[in-house]
Amino acid sequence: MTYLDANASEPLRPAARAAAVAAMAAAGNPASIHAAGRAARRILEDAREAIAARFGAAAAGVVFTSGATEADALAIAGLGAGRRLIVGATEHDAVRAAAAGAAVLPVDAEGIADLATLDRMLAEGGPALVCLMAANNETGTIMPVPEAAAICRRHGALLHVDAVQAAGRMPLDLAALGADSIALSSHKLGGPMGAGALLLAADRPLPPLIAGGGQERGRRGGTPALPAIAGFAAAARDAAPASAARLAPLRDAIEHAATCAGAMPLGAGAARLANTTCLALPGVRAETQVIALDLAGVAVSAGSACSSGRVARSHVLDAMGAGTLAGQAIRISLPWCADAADMRACIAAYAAMAERLSRRAA
């Protein structure tokens, strides 16, 4: 099986696996004051410091959660209280669902947020919370977050950044971004599933979504998922944007070969994550393409993993004005460990699939 669905979940990094397994042996609850509890607490606080250092936050600003969905929801409920909400049109469903009723910030044909419109939207109303992802999960498009942050600051708006796909794949530093918070997911950077974090630029109180027990400085109740968090920190240390850049030539070769086979890359005109390409094959339903590639031993997806299976049209590609191509595009996302053999397998399978299905569609 050639696994090219890293934006759904990255394969676990060996360092993350070792850290998670080691943490599994820690018997204590990090909130207990006895020796076993203190040992567990040390693992938790070491992980907090590692995450903070890696992404430009203070340790006190790191709130561990069960994942990025919870981190996004916590940020929007907390920072958004009493503010109107503005969300990018291509945000993940976790943000869109948590920000029900929000005004939508449009994107251009490459998927880049329209900052002139943001400026106008912020000028027109009261205090706002803006949600803008760092990089899109379906196309890899990188958003102009520092520029958006400057606009938000000028208008007294707060900015929350879903940095799930960006973390570990491009430079990401909360302080440098100028955002008020970023959401991270462990398993999207090669750590275990079951952990994530909200990083706050200011060590502010935040009403918890999950109340009780007073953990995470009162901002998130519940015994932390220690093994997953330890693995998360190890993965974050390991995931270097420089090594992610290694994937660009592999991705470009796949994209080139697919284009020769009739595909149209979407969002390719924008600055993108090195591992992601979104390929539309005119006339062929995305679902059909994914099934054909799965049968050929290549795992890709037709959108975000959460909505896959439902095979809804991609709201991301719709927002980019892709028209009918929105239902005919698949996402190929290379994992950190992808190599030339994966690239060759993908190219062969794609070419065969495109040849067979395009002919049928024509």
Binding site: M1, A8, I33, G37, T69, M193, A211, G221, G309
Partner: protein, 398 residues
């Protein structure tokens, strides 16, 4: 650290992961890394198969159907989802009932969830318990005279091990038209739970309290008649829209295995642990004649022992026994210096509550551990020189 030290007797705070659970999880930590929601490809389907096996194993532990199990990050989230979710959904549906009844000895997350709802116009009512820690059904019945939306009473207390008669309490709640939720974090895998026989509507379970991994739990949500909830976390629409977010397949596989093992070995574990508890109590009772067992007259789970010592503060005893992991109360609030609110609710004065230790015996406790604990605590208690009170740890937050 010396071999077999520290001796871990705080199994209510968390339990060590069973090696058999770890063995189930390890393959998912290496070869099988798909997202369980990526059902379009083989790797995703393999991960989904792992989560669905786990769902069936968790369901079987409490006599539920697999589709009645909603996975969460733990019991705290499950309790929040049950209480806030049921209340908010009822309010959206135009249900005029606002009363949420719970009990003074509940876990903080239940009390805080109910308190949070007060800000949304609900009416939390916190009932007292009898000196043995149980809720008097007559007290519940009186509180139910006012139309009530939800009653939440824990199955087993985390500090004393006292078992509540949830079947009777649920019957009272249902007779008054209220839903019944139970926090079964300490009960699941330790005593038999049967959602059908006990007519429970919502049940919270934790992975790491039954020798599974930290970071997973579940909420049982009855389907017939159907209990409806508003989600806490929305997004990708996983867990039938009740709980969005990627399911952590490896952790869930461990949770499922832990439930399967607990179901198979519950009776055997209980018998062995009862023996160990008797051994500890006999040795301690002989050395410390005026020792008091809190909740002594109530039915309790075998592993739990809450003891009030006649002369020494619990903090001093813990400081004198650095190789013994016991506690003064719930782990979440164990950093707090005030005496246990659970014991205070049972009528202990602050001084007696301050001389009380929680001891949790578990599946991996050996007779040698028990003998060490008895000797260490007896010596600490009976020594002439009072030990310094353990300083507040700088790592612990309020």
């Amino acid at each position: 650290m010396r071999p077999n030290r520290p001796v871990y007797l705080d199994n209510q705070a968390t339990t060590p992961c069973d090696p058999r659970v770890l063995a189930v999880m390890l393959p998912l930590f290496s070869e099988q890394f798909g997202n369980p929601h990526s059902v379009e490809h083989a790797m995703g389907r393999a991960a989904e198969a792992a989560t669905e096996t786990a769902r069936a194993e968790v369901a079987a532990l409490i006599g539920a159907e697999p589709r009645e199990i909603i996975f969460t990050s733990g019991a705290t989230e499950a309790n929040n989802l049950a209480i806030k979710g049921a209340a908010r959904h009822a309010a959206w549906m135009g249900n005029p009932r606002r009363r949420i009844i719970t009990v003074a000895t509940e876990h903080k997350c239940v009390l805080e969830s109910a308190a949070d709802l007060a800000r949304e116009g609900f009416e939390p009512v916190v009932l007292p318990v009898r000196p043995d820690g149980t809720l008097d059904p007559a007290v519940l019945a009186a509180a139910l005279a006012e139309p009530t939306l939800l009653v939440s009473v824990m199955a087993v207390n985390n500090e004393t091990g006292v078992i509540q008669d949830v079947a009777s309490l649920a019957a009272l709640a249902h007779a008054a038209g209220a839903l019944f939720h139970t926090d079964a974090a300490q009960a699941a895998g330790k005593i038999g739970l049967d959602v059908a026989g006990q007519t429970l509507d919502l049940v919270s379970i934790s992975g790491h309290k039954l020798y599974g991994p930290k970071g997973v739990g579940a909420l049982y949500v009855r389907r017939r008649p159907r209990v409806r909830l508003a989600p806490l976390l929305s997004g990708g629409g996983q867990e039938r829209g009740l709980r969005s977010g990627t399911l952590p397949a490896p952790l869930l596989a461990g949770f499922g295995a832990a439930c399967r093992i607990a179901r198979a070995e519950m009776t055997e574990d209980a018998a062995r642990i009862t023996g160990l508890r008797g051994r500890l109590l006999a040795a301690l009772g002989a050395a410390v004649p005026d020792l008091v067992v809190n909740g002594d007259h109530a039915e309790k789970i075998p592993g739990s022992l809450n003891l009030t010592f006649p002369r020494r503060d619990a903090a001093a005893l813990m400081a004198a026994c650095p190789d013994l992991c016991v506690s003064t109360g719930s782990a979440c609030s164990s950093a707090a210096v005030e005496p246990s609110y659970v014991l205070r609710a049972m009528g202990l004065d602050p001084a007696a509550a301050g001389r009380s230790l929680r001891i949790g015996i578990g599946r991996f406790t050996s007779p040698a551990d028990i003998d060490y604990a008895a000797a260490a605590l007896s010596a600490a208690h009976n020594s002439e020189t009072p030990h310094p009170v353990m300083p507040a740890s700088p790592m612990i937050e309020a």
